[in-house]
Amino acid sequence: MKLRTRFGDLLAYLVLGAVGVSMLAPFAWMIVASLRGKAEFFRQVGALLPSGPHWDNYLSAWTTAPFGAFFLNSVFVAVTVTVGQLATSSLAAYAFARMRFRGRDALFIAYLSTMMAPAQVTLIPLFVMMVKLHWIDSYAALIVPSLASAYGCFLLRQFFMTIPGELEDAARIDGAGHWGIYHRIMLPLSKPALAAFGVIAFLGSWNSFVWPLIVINRPSMKTLPIGLQSLQGFYGDANWAVLMAGAVIAALPMVVLFLFAQRFFIEGITLTGLKE
């Protein structure tokens, strides 16, 4: 039995390791490729590793496309959207979980039903709306349509429902109203759920592609994903090394954030996956 478990563990390591290598290989290849010389690239045979690290590829990427602006735009948009979604969702979640008013359950179902529509359905009307509002090439277009999230309302409501009511009763005796209970009791007790949903909202906004692609044309307004896309449009197959350097620059911030806050990422995925 003991031996069988050992053997099983060994086998598990082998399989996990093999898959792990295949998961990491593309990333390693991206970094290696970003350091190769331009001429080196088109050689079909020979060493995979670059002859010397060509850091100038990063300089070329940075100067061809305004990556600094892309990064700041991405940060500003993702942070604002995340804070906005947390605020609007937690308020609505509190109302659905703790308040009594006419039509509550019907309204909640109406909220949920907006989740049924895929993003592609709202894409064209929203684009028309942005054109009419003269919001093309503006932060408003990137941020405002995403400030409310039915999914966030649902998720946080489910969490609020699990919080026992005794604490609130005590607070109510001390004269606290709904606002007091919401921000002094509910929010502090819901930190794990808020963090989990916050991570998901942030990740979603950060990696969002189709919407910025449609509403942003001006280079200085682009976020990292569509900025990187425009770099591919610029170089095509002509200068892979610089393109790879751009991919590294664009991917790095989120990878670093993930490595430092991975617990929240994993918890976020688990929570959003299970509270179906």
Partner: protein, 316 residues
Amino acid sequence: MKRKRTGETGRDGLAALAFLTPSFVGLFIFSVIPILGAIGISLLEWDILSPPKFVGFANYTEIWRELVSGEVLRQVILNTLYFTAVTVPLAMAVSLGISLLLNRKIRGVAAFRVIYFLPSVTSIVALSIIWRLMYNPDYGLINRALGAIRIPGVANGHLAFVPLIPHPPAWLGDPNWAMPAIIIMSVWTGIGYNAILYLAGLQGIGKSYYEAARLDGAGAWQVFRHVTWPLLSPTTLFIFTMSVIGGFQVFTQIFMMTAGNPRPQTMVFVYHIYSQAFTSFKMGYASALAVLLFLIILSVTLGQLAATKRWVNYGN
């Protein structure tokens, strides 16, 4: 179980209004109106620049005509089904296997979890650029690796080590291999996310089930077949539904890696909507397609709800 708060005084109407207004305004203006708007625009012939023309259901009859007569739209839908039908089971099987291994009490699981999850946090734009280069037939990593696999054979009349695969595919440039290439990349991208969901499902299964099975003398396969798999069914159904919906919506990697080429092999539904709307400016026709997609996804969701009632075992 939530307590009934019948003892409370009064109703919370006004306060509720204040708490709900921000989300309600946002969802109404940027979700409800656009959903209705999509249905409205689908009844128009409109290129945004000139005034719209009401055409009734002409866009829908056009879709029907194309489907029946086998024009590009039919190919687009078949491609989307091909992508979904291969990607979803493949990604689910691999991630279930991975999660079963991660669920063993072995050291270093956390490190593997981080590695597998890396693609899920990376922008699919960056991943697409990496994979486009990896698939490059001449200097991409994949064909280099395939070329390095050599077996003894005869070359120029001499015994030598010759490549096992002398003519590896051109991947994204090859009509037969472009879609499989996209599928491989998409499976790779989604493994970590699904494995994390499966792992959470596995950890939710009570130990007592396994102990009981062991006492009955069940082997590893029997335990999986009769304990793990049935008790995992809510997770499986959830991942399946989300993956099918995601499969119908695949866009970014197609946009970045092939742009539908070699035509029409990698033209998928959402790419078709996008190009009809934003390159051909056929807003009405594209909206009708989007409404059709909505209906397809809605039926998948309703199918999930029905299946949950019938098939899923919640272990009670």
